[in-house]
Subunit: 325 residues, 2 copies
């Protein structure tokens, strides 16, 4: 079995938490992980005996993605993608610069034949339920109806591979449930999706359906998808902070809150994106996990688990079939 | 002083809660309210001595807006808009069909000179802070950069009139903070906003800034704005439900929760859109409040208060100046 290529240098908490996550994943999941990054930096850390794939450069979080990938040929991201391309790793995992992760995967692994543009699929955690997969979460600010149809197919294949959901319901994110609602892109996409017999199209969904199990896959352009996900993130943060303030506002409140904390922390955990194992770049010739920039050690373990599962479940083959159908 | 024209027939809870809200507004705020609707229906309710403007038809919530306004010339919405146009009412308030409310206002009152398209401005309530105004919340699924610049100006004028905020900071909703981020519409709009000396442009904001006080006015197209607002709405609902479940899950939890409830209900109240007085249609020749379809009696009181305040603060004159500057 090939190892997972983990970009040890990418992420707000890199390299410490990333390496710790790789070590934990190797122990807990029994997966083989290769750390990609600067040997001299990694030598300072407890790498738990994991192999190191040397890469002398780092594409920084805020760096221009295209330029970074073009000029830093010996960066951890580019080397991780090459390892997958060259059959030396089964998948790549990075919490680094999202644009550069996409560009590395796309340029080094290449596109699945027929795919117009790869998309980022993000599982949105729901309390007590299977996550809803939203795509495109930001890879393509501009989309055509044909791209959205491919996203629907790829998202369905991902939902099948990830959650064993053999007939995932697909919703088109719009501003009204009726078929005629939305801008010209949604109207055209609606028609194409309704005619596509390879997917289970459930019609339009609205923003208020995103954090519910109304459908299993939500399709939208990368601009709207990115705004939607970040809106959810901000809402979760603001509401949690407000609830927390009530619970610790007075000594009486603190005392009263104590028995509720385990349950509330469990809810917060269920809604925490770190638990879902990160987003996936769908449409490239390999498994590529894009973990949140703020990934913790735990998030990296979950990302590695997802990478392993997607390799085992033959995600890339499923995507190929979904596109060629 | 002219009365407010309240569409008594529009909304999920019409006419009961709407009429009750009008009666309460008249008592609590001392505003004069005229109920617009079917006299025979209103005669069955306690209208607290409010005057009635007869309208024999009703545009239903799910009805096609354009067709409704064209064919139902004696509908409560059309009559309410005519009352403002004819100087018989100072403002209109409706919790009915949003599209039909917009169309009635636009067709009967007309557009402010120079306005390309009116927009819906929605105050997003924040815990403990002044709401952030988001526009366009759904009037225009497709927008040009010139329209977004007008929305920035109108939103600023509204923030000034509504919250006494004389130099509101305007953010452009995009998928990254840097000037170059986003689709071509955002890039073009960014340049125009940066050059517009009549507003205080703070640059791009992201979805995660929506439920914060990062800026005072957030400008976006009506498609993205509508998805964003409904995403917030759904998130609030799902998270509240999950927290509530923990708090009443066991007898022990129920007992522990009791002292926390007042504080948590206060937070829920602060985040409740009903408290902000509803959305406003900006760019028409009159004050038009679009209240949430699910408006309660309390929401209608708040909407009437906002209508009165916007008339008193000369909102329409301010919008005229903002556009002609």
């Amino acid at each position: 079995v090939l190892p997972l290529a983990l970009d040890a240098m990418g992420g707000d908490n890199a390299p410490g938490d990333i390496v710790a996550g790789g070590v934990a994943a190797s122990k807990e999941l029994g997966v083989d992980v290769v750390l990609v990054g600067r040997p001299e930096v990694l030598a300072e850390l407890d790498t738990g005996g994991l192999k190191v794939l040397a890469a002398s450069e780092v594409i920084e979080m805020a760096e221009d993605a295209g330029k970074g990938v073009r000029t830093k040929k010996d960066s951890s991201l580019v080397r991780a993608a090459e390892a997958v391309r060259d059959g030396k790793a089964s998948a790549m995992v990075s919490a680094g610069n999202t644009g550069a992760t996409m560009a590395s995967a796309l340029l080094r692994m290449g596109r699945i034949k027929g795919v117009i543009r790869p998309a980022i699929a993000t599982p949105i955690p729901l309390p007590g339920k299977r996550p809803t997969i939203l795509l495109d979460a930001g890879a393509n600010a501009e989309c055509t109806a044909e791209m959205l149809v491919q996203f629907a197919r790829m998202g369905s294949a991902f939902a099948s591979a990830r959650y064993g959901n053999e007939r995932p319901r697909v919703g088109l994110l719009s501003i009204g449930e009726e078929p005629g609602k939305g801008d010209p892109l949604r109207k055209e996409t609606f028609k194409l999706l309704a005619e596509d017999s390879t997917i289970c199209f459930a019609g339009n969904v609205e923003g208020r359906d995103v954090l519910t199990d109304a459908v299993d896959v939500i399709v939208t352009d990368g601009f709207t998808g990115n705004v939607t996900l970040k809106t959810l993130e901000g809402a979760l943060r603001t509401i949690s902070a407000a609830v927390f303030e009530v619970m610790v506002g007075t000594e009486e409140a603190k005392a009263a809150s104590a028995p509720l904390l385990p349950g509330l922390l469990a809810v917060a955990g269920e809604l925490d994106p770190d638990t879902t194992g990160g987003a996936m770049l769908l449409g490239v010739e390999g498994v590529c996990i894009i973990s949140h920039g703020s990934s913790s050690e735990r998030a990296i373990v979950n990302a590695c688990r997802q990478a392993r599962d997607m390799v085992e479940h033959g995600l890339v083959d499923r995507l190929r079939m979904a596109i060629s159908d």
